[in-house]
């Protein structure tokens, strides 16, 4: 299947996961990502060496992933906002125990039960821990179906490379979108490099322990700094963002995922009437692509952050750029999916309010 | 039929013992008592009374070791 295929977003993630050697999936039905769970059930049933479990709860699912990861498998779970809330302790444990795993969040309306429409309301939850303790989760935000495949492959690689959990952040719309995609070559998990810390029975070697309890405060501080150094290294290695028409821009929109696609449509419209507007689209939300933001802010001083929430990523942009630039925000929470026209109007009105048409 | 009389002996690791007294309560031959010397953890450990062959009634039944929570007792039996 290496030609272009038309496939829905959730299925693309599932197919790529299996092609990336993922042999353990546990999940719980929750809209709008049920198709991913169902796809994994079908795909794994066709393999001889995989396990699919519809777990009794979101919590059980993430804990099964912990176990599968301890056993050396590429393991994945997926859910949507409230279910991801339930998984937070598990994610904290994955980070603390330095276990690789991939978690997919298809964001929906919130807080609480919310609704099943697409939003970006879980940015804080994803990038600010969500779970307890001093840890970070690598967070990747695709916007196109091809990226769903590319990022899913990268997610498993990052997880193994940095022995840390990785979250793929999408929304319901992206999960349902169908676009052509070319899948990466399948990997045989048995050909992956062996992991030196796996719990598979102490035959011919000393017994191993995977734990996160460190009662000795000196040792726990050491462990926290060790994780910190890992995250600093990840920050150096992973800085992913796409820039679109920013070279001559007077105003740059910052948006990710579905919001970025809408913004791109809006930018095409305003460019048609002569406004110099560009787009900076983060692909890694943690680490936040500071370097690319800083580079862009050397020649652009006005930014409009557009999110499908009441303002979360905008805080990261402000942290990065407030001293050098004007940061504006436009948000629609609750599952509203703006049209490019709406965003074009917002951009246009801001552009003229800020007198950006003058040189 | 002559009854085979086993002779036994136990070694109590006084630094593992926590003085819980369970071995003393189950020994069928009352061959264990409490030491008057504290161990490093601050417990009065159990001690084996069989100091000489004459007053050693231990048969190596290992009942003490079976109930000892701290695996503090090794049991020897004469064949």
């Amino acid at each position: 299947m290496n030609d272009k295929v038309l496939m829905r977003g959730t299925h693309i993630i599932g197919e790529t996961a299996v092609r990336s050697g993922c042999r353990f999936y546990a999940g719980y039905p929750i809209t709008p990502q049920n198709e991913l769970t169902e796809y994994m059930a079908g795909a794994i049933a066709k393999l001889k060496d995989g396990t699919f479990i519809q777990a009794e709860s979101e919590i059980a699912a993430v804990n099964m992933v912990i176990g599968a990861s301890m056993a050396g498998a590429r393991a994945m779970t997926s859910s949507s906002s409230p279910g991801i809330s339930l998984k937070q302790e598990g994610i904290s444990f994955l980070a603390a125990q330095e276990l690789p795993a991939v978690i997919v969040n298809s964001m929906r309306g919130g807080p609480g039960l919310g609704n099943i429409a697409p939003t970006q309301g879980d940015y804080f939850q994803a990038t600010r821990g969500g779970g307890h303790g001093d840890y970070r989760c690598i967070v990747l935000a695709p916007a196109y179906s091809q990226e769903l495949a590319d990022i899913t492959r990268r997610a498993f690689e990052y997880a193994d490379r940095f022995t840390t959990p990785v979250m793929i952040l999408i929304d319901g719309m992206m999960g349902q979108m169908m676009e052509p995609v070319v899948f990466p070559e399948p990997i045989d998990p048995r050909e992956l490099p062996p992991k030196s810390w796996v719990l598979d029975g102490a035959k011919g070697r000393p017994s191993r322990i995977i734990k996160s309890l460190i009662l000795d405060v000196v040792k726990e501080e050491e462990h926290n700094w060790k994780l910190y150094r890992k995250y600093e290294n990840i920050k150096k290695e992973i800085q992913e963002a796409e820039t679109y028409l920013t070279e001559d821009a007077k105003l740059v929109v910052i948006a990710y995922g579905t919001a970025a696609r809408i913004a791109k449509g809006a930018i095409k419209r305003v460019r048609d009437i002569g406004l110099k507007v560009g787009l900076l689209r983060p692909l890694s939300l943690w680490p936040f692509p500071r370097r690319i933001l800083d580079d862009t802010s050397r020649f652009v001083k006005e930014f409009l952050v557009y999110e499908m929430n009441t303002g979360q990523m905008v805080e990261d942009v402000e942290l990065a750029l407030k001293r050098s630039s004007e940061i504006h925000f436009y948000g629609r929470p609750g599952g509203i999916v703006s049209t490019p026209d709406e965003i074009a109007k917002v951009i246009t009105s801001l552009y003229y309010r800020r007198h950006l048409e003058e040189d | 039929m002559a009854k085979k009389v086993l002779k036994g002996m136990i070694i109590i690791d006084s630094e593992l013992c926590k003085g819980c007294g369970l071995c003393i309560s189950v020994c069928p031959h009352e061959m264990i008592n409490v030491s008057e010397v504290l161990n490093e953890k601050g417990y009065y450990p159990a001690q084996f009374k069989g100091s000489s062959k004459e007053d050693n009634a231990c048969t190596g039944c290992a009942t003490c070791a079976i109930i000892c929570p701290d695996v503090a007792i090794e049991v020897y039996r004469e064949r």
Binding site: I53, E56, A60, G67, M70, A202 | K18, V71, V75
Partner: protein
């Protein structure tokens, strides 16, 4: 005297002082599990999942691969390990809060799915590590730090018969309740553990051994009196017996 060493520390128990209290049942049970693993020759292929609770440090004692689970999630973590490594022996070692309060769903569903794991349920009728609060298996009238005056059904609810409930789970194969409060019961517990691990080795399904365990510190009794108290009081609510044994049917 040409003496033969007839009882010593089992191979799979590290030579270290247990942090458990004097007279604690965990210590005895750890030793029994290590003995069984050695006698069955499975030490090199066993992976254990310790709980949150007094036995959280079990990985310091068992000389086998050990993977820590969040509180209550042992059966889920064990499921993940066993499904990925079906030819290894996986056990989850849990206290009563871990297995019957926060972890109830994971326990029931692992049993229901018939996961081929062995669960060791250490029941001391209280939350030991956190200082003696009520547990799901605290018996009526039993004092605890959160049941002043003793557990009262109206205020605190009745104790839970988790092992009896698990017998209804279709995937459960063998469930027995034993104790380690006497030599006789310790010997029975070891037999039950051996059977449970053998069931896993034969791929027959989910096995669980519930072990009534003395907790002198939180019961405020001496080790010896704790053992007696299990006979006098706890077994009135939680009788020692084989609760389910599907292997009898298969043998017939």
């Amino acid at each position: 005297m040409t003496a033969q060493l007839v009882f010593k520390r089992p191979r799979y128990l590290k030579k270290t002082v247990f942090h458990y209290c004097p007279g604690c049942g965990h210590s005895i049970i750890h030793r029994l599990v290590a003995e069984v693993i050695e006698e069955l020759g499975i030490g090199e292929i066993t992976i254990g999942v310790p709980p949150a609770g007094c036995a959280v440090l079990a990985y310091d004692y068992f000389d086998v691969d050990m993977g820590e689970a969040p509180h209550g999630r042992g059966p889920a973590v064990a499921t993940g390990i066993k499904r990925m490594l079906p030819d290894r022996i996986v056990f989850s070692y849990q206290g009563d809060g871990d297995i019957a309060a926060i972890g109830t769903a994971e326990t029931i569903h692992a049993a229901n799915r018939g996961e081929n794991i062995t669960v060791i349920f250490v029941n001391n009728s209280c939350y030991g590590m956190t200082g003696g609060q009520m547990a799901p298996t605290t018996v009526v009238g039993q004092e605890s730090t959160t049941t002043p005056g003793g557990r009262d059904i109206k205020r605190d609810g009745a104790p839970i018969d988790l092992s009896e409930m698990l017998a209804l789970a279709r995937g459960s194969v063998y469930i027995e309740r034993t104790s380690v409060n006497s030599i006789k019961n310790i010997v029975k517990t070891k037999k039950a553990l051996t059977k449970a691990f053998k069931i896993q080795m034969s791929g027959l399904g989910f096995s669980l051994v519930e072990i009534l365990s003395p907790c002198p510190t939180n019961w405020k009794l001496s080790p010896l009196d704790s053992c007696k108290w299990i006979d006098e009081t706890i077994t009135q609510t939680f009788p020692l017996k084989v609760i389910k044994d599907e292997t009898i049917k298969t043998e017939l």
